[in-house]
Symmetry: C2
Subunit: 555 residues, 2 copies
């Protein structure tokens, strides 16, 4: 693109830095300028909680690049602490303000990328301006929280999403008393609630006080710092981190007349161009299409931001070779202590809210062969389109192997694979790494069994008292870990064929077991013996007790 070498990038972190770096690889002659309001460029913003908690020891580790390295390696002009205050679209120039000197100037561009990111929400609550109430976006934010944490005894995290959970864990590592407040009645709101039970259990176990189903109503900083919740509850704290979400930082784009979406995100085409073809946008500030459905979506995640930035440079400097953005899945993961949880694609709650048809199964297994030492439990929920079997989404939680299964299913969705394809995936198996039938295969099997009418999975035990609830676990397990419900019949699977007479053939049966598999086996026996039967998918572990054992301990 010899005609348009002046590439101006507003925002120097994930999308912006990626775009500038890729632009330089594609054109040695381009004049590339990177503008960043903050003092740092290209820092590892996903690492900020881990530095606060001391897992990452060296602050410099977070500086992926500095203005100096970007200049040396990429011949970029970098201006930090510089704010873009206006865009003159007809004149193709941006007004910049040096935040230190207060000086202003206009910089011309041939192509402009807006990568302003998103700002943590800070609602106008009473007392919100107390200096002990923090949000986390930048290295200076991180430094302030780390400094404040030094003397704090009690810390409050508002919002149990990805960042809230990471912060709660890190404050526990710093030996703080931690209260985590979440408006919804579950942690990790993007997930379906049953998939968060293990995470919730882990947080409580590690000493995090969870206040779910309650929102922050205000703060009182007159003596100490007091949090007031919507329920009327109040408590004293020393430090508050607000992690209730972000909004796109798009005032500049709005003022320039660029087209925004309903929630203020910049609208772009599949090459990240705004309605002004000379102006691109990428990263947390944009909205784009869902990979599966084409719905308009936005996510604030580093991976997509990096790849969108790269695509912008491709489209500017090698337009014929640029590949359109495929859309977003929103794959995300979080670790809280020993538990990992995450999702890819659609959840049941999103599918329900959108009124879309879906079917779902939940399966338990170990992250690798159970006979090999160190096997850790893993729970996987799969959602698919009943019209064609195509995988719509998945959620996983467990003590190991969560990331791998999310990545496999994310890739499967990208390939438009079906539940039958999942059943046949040929995944790497040696005892330390997997199983001959991986949990992803098992989910495909279970989904196929559901689709083919071999079993009717249920997501909860029915309230209807005419339904016979049949627990098919061994009696010892039934006694040590009972189902919290009256009138449950216990016939272990191995005895079921011989004891069918104990069940009433005129009434439906719901089978239940520890993990869901044995209940399916029992349902097959009953269905073929004329019973109307359903099986609890995911078993007791998915619905009543996330650490419920699969077997009695060997004595």
């Amino acid at each position: 693109m010899q005609a348009s070498p002046r590439f101006l990038v507003i925002g120097g972190v994930a999308a912006g830095a990626s775009a500038a770096a890729r632009a330089r690889r594609l054109s040695e002659s381009a004049v590339i300028t990177l503008i960043e309001r903050g003092p740092d460029v290209s820092f590892a913003n996903c690492g900020l909680p881990y530095y606060i908690g001391g897992e990452i020891k060296l602050r410099d580790a977070l500086a992926v690049q500095t203005p100096q390295t970007l200049k040396a390696l990429l011949a970029l002009a970098v201006r930090t602490s510089t704010e873009a205050v206006a865009i003159d679209r007809p004149g193709q120039r941006v007004q910049l303000r040096n935040l230190a000197a207060g000086t202003e100037e206009w910089l011309p561009y041939d192509k402009l990328l807006l990568a302003p990111g998103a700002v943590p929400l800070r609602p106008p609550l009473p007392g919100i301006d107390d200096p002990r109430i923090f949000t986390l976006r930048s290295l200076p934010d991180m430094d302030r929280i780390k400094a404040a944490a030094f003397t704090a005894r009690h810390v409050t995290v508002i919002g149990a999403g990805f960042i809230g959970l990471e912060m709660a864990e890190q404050f526990i590592h710093l030996s703080k008393q931690v209260t985590l407040v979440e408006l919804l009645d579950q942690v990790l709101p993007p997930l379906d609630k049953p998939m968060t039970a293990l995470l919730e259990d882990e947080l409580r176990k590690r000493g995090v006080e969870l206040l779910l189903g309650d929102g922050i109503a205000g703060f009182d900083g007159t003596t100490g710092l007091r949090c007031r919740l919507a329920s009327g509850r109040g408590f004293d704290t020393d430090l508050v981190v607000l992690a209730i979400g972000v909004r796109p930082d798009t005032a500049l784009a709005r003022a320039a007349g660029l087209e925004l979406g309903a929630r203020g995100h910049i609208k772009v085409n599949s090459f990240m161009q705004t309605n002004d073809p000379c102006i691109y946008a990428a990263g947390d500030a944009i909205e784009t299409e869902d990979l599966v459905t084409g719905d308009t979506v936005s996510v604030a995640l580093g991976g997509p931001a990096n790849r969108q930035g790269r695509l912008v440079a491709d489209h500017i400097y090698r337009p014929d070779l640029a590949k359109p953005w495929p859309g977003l899945l929103g794959t995300a993961i979080v670790r809280a202590f020993d538990v990992a949880a995450g999702l890819t694609g659609w959840t049941e709650k999103r599918l329900r809210a959108a009124g879309r048809a879906f079917r779902t199964v939940t399966v338990n297994d170990n992250h690798h062969a159970g006979y090999y030492p160190g096997a850790k439990p893993l729970l996987l929920k799969l959602l698919w389109d009943p019209a064609n079997g195509r995988v719509l989404g998945a959620q996983a939680t467990g003590l190991a192997g969560v990331d791998k299964r999310l990545d496999v299913i994310s890739t499967a969705i990208a390939g438009a694979l079906t539940i039958d394809d999942l059943a046949q995936l040929e995944l790497a198996y040696a005892p330390p790494f997997g199983a001959a039938k991986d949990i992803v295969n098992l989910a495909g099997f279970a989904a196929g069994n559901t689709r083919d009418g071999l079993v009717t999975p249920i997501d909860a035990l029915p309230d209807d008292p005419t339904v016979q609830v049949l627990d098919v676990r061994p009696p010892g397990l039934v006694q040590s870990h009972p189902i919290p419900r009256h009138g449950v019949i216990n016939i272990p699977l191995g005895a079921l064929r011989g004891r069918l007479g104990e069940l009433d053939r005129s009434r439906p049966v719901a089978t239940v077991c520890a993990l869901g598999k044995t209940a399916y086996f029992a349902a097959r026996i009953l269905a073929q013996n004329g019973f109307q039967v359903s099986a609890l998918t995911g078993g007791i572990r998915a619905h009543f007790d996330p650490r419920s054992p699969a077997k009695l301990p060997t004595p």
Copy 2:
């Protein structure tokens, strides 16, 4: 299938046990009989080495099922220590011999599954019948090796494939002196040689004596046990494990006139039917199609065997709902001490041997974000079809995350994804689990850059003395870890734009760095400045030193 309820299964391990179990889920009325020559059914044969080495402590852990549990849970008739000696196809019956009693009888079938597995090769070498020379297939084999290892001081493993490597590791755990002999000049022969360097280094480091490029010629057991190699070399040992491969155990099928492939495997259609539609075959004894190319292939792996067995039952009992076998990728992985290595799909050596067009890149990265503690190095080689960009195969080796990347790429191949799709995969990222640009994305980027002509990757430094070899690492690293070659020019990337005058524009340049990325960056600068340039893919780490550092240690 009410008309054909008698299902006879020959072989009670992976494919056979899976078929019988699935058959029972589909039909309570079927008469299902499982015949097994050995004393055990449904045991974890992939776990045998780990029990020998003591990682798996309890022998019972390997018994996934027993004849008793199969009877109780699945109402199967199980006959162990029973050999199928003949098939009367017109009469639809199998002659069985009870190996304990010596009695024989005929058992009728409506449908028959042959799941005989594969037998370890035991070539007719001098001295091969020495009782100190073992192969490993069954629990009794395992017990014999474990017992013999108890008194052995020196152990020899012949064959550095998957099982050979596992055995070598386990014998080291037992504090044996271990010699590993391999005919090829690399360990893990299915992989391309450069991908095995780290594994080889790890084995030597842990004390395994590696004799590569040498074959076993015979044994002399007159005084002690002496191994004689093809090279003439000889050494004394106390115990030999032969792990040089397997052959399909298909004498019964051959005698019955079933169609066999060129290497003795049973031919089946995509529902696992042999040329006799009442007789199915599954598992290690069959040949099937390659998922990518449709070539005839066979693999002896537990995952495919299990799923093939399940498919057989589906086709017998619910033929309308059975989904055809999609084909094989041969995804496999092995761990040797701290290193994992594996493959999915096609390798370069297989592609070359088949005369197929391909392109390839090799990329290095960490298994998760480098700024988060514990990041471990990972090497990934990607192969794709230049005609359409479709992924053909991948190999990975490293200290962590190998299984995940193989699984992602296996899934990508199942979805017929291209290198551009890999670049855009949305994989789970939080610092403990991944990176904003995962190594799979990086491989997609690198492949796209190659395809689009941004870089000319080379797999080895050219011998041509007119080529200027340019090392773009920092001088400290060049000094501490030099490239084993004369006349290498060193200009670090950050200084390259200012020092282009030091290079001869009339001569080609080959750039090289630690990991391959910086060499690509340098190649972009040089190409745009008029140089004819290529870049060593995978860097020094992939070609000269598998543990070569990416950076100088921080002082």
